[in-house]
């Protein structure tokens, strides 16, 4: 990652990492608006950062420091918006049962399907590679 020379004297990895994260966030917003994609700028920024890491093949210490610094607080950051549910208590009263049924049924079907699907494909893959070893 290139460094802005002016800010070099700070030598603060946490701050530097945060600047990079915000930079990617703003680039994400920019690209999403430029292409008028209805995709959140933050998600686009994450993908762009991920691609940068893939190309560079490593994570710089400043980025590592600030992500270690803020990622553990992710659950805290979603709290204020979640409290907004107080404005929609009527919906919960009227449709709470339907919501709960939808959530529970989709989980009871979804978890075994995802798990069994992955397990079966992994087993096939292992068998295939074993047969190949056998033949060669």
């Amino acid at each position: 990652m290139w460094r802005v020379p002016l800010l070099n004297w700070l030598k603060n990895d946490m701050l530097y990492g945060l600047i990079i994260l915000l930079m990617y966030l703003l680039i994400g917003e920019f690209v999403a608006n430029l292409l008028s994609w209805p995709v959140p700028g933050s998600v686009l920024g994450m993908i762009l950062l991920f691609i940068t890491l893939l190309i560079k093949g490593g994570i710089s210490t400043d980025l590592k420091t600030s992500s270690n610094g803020i990622l553990p607080y992710l659950p805290l950051f979603i709290v204020p918006a979640s409290v907004g549910i107080v404005n929609f208590m009527g919906i919960i009263e009227q449709q709470g049962f339907a919501l709960l049924t939808a959530i529970l049924v989709s989980l009871i079907v979804g978890i075994p399907v995802c798990g069994l699907l992955a397990q079966r494909l992994i087993k096939n893959q292992l068998n295939a590679s074993q047969n190949k070893d056998h033949n060669s």
Binding site: Y73, L74, I85, A98, I111, A118, L121, K123
Partner: protein, 235 residues
Amino acid sequence: MTLDWSSAINSVWQSPYLGLFLTLMSFQLGLWMFRKSAHQPFLHPVMVSVVSLCLVVLFTDLSFDRYMQSAQLISQFLGPVIVALAIPLYENLASLKKYWLPFVVSNILGGGLTILIAVGILAAMGGSELTVNSMWTKSVTTAFGLKITPEINGLGALAAAIIMFTGIFGAIMAPWLFKLFNIHSAPAQGCALGICAHAVGTSKALEFGSEQGAFAALSMSFMGILCAFVLPFVA
């Protein structure tokens, strides 16, 4: 000198820092309860924090708008923290090398199925358009959900509640469903937890083992990205 107690207390109650303080306090309380209860999913810090803050907003004269003005600062970090998720995604990528195909297939087919079932049932049981729109993001982590729902005309707060309950019930039911259906492969357990129960499932998966944890974290990010790109065009 007379001490004006009521006006002093009132100034604290009206302070622009109150919402920030209450949020941090309730979250700390949640963390403490989660630890004390040996990680009981129903006492997840977010659950404890959100429920106690909702009670304060509902039963005192601290309105949601005034609370949000103060707590806005915390919400602002949602953007950079989503970008930061690229780092664990990159670090976990190595575990994918061997099993990327099972991973992608179970994410797309399994993840798609669980979302369609939830949306279908809700629509069939008479859910309003707003509620149905908020259900689409049920299998992504809340940070992504809050950003995606505005794009698909859903309610962020309702989506957050749906996601929270999905994660909690998923983490509770998964160990039991794994036994019932004899799902023992570590990557498969991780995928199922990450796809169906996102972040709450990922912390549950880490209790099973590090391989489960890596696959759960990868599934969570993959589902988030997939939904961010697909939902605005289909939902």
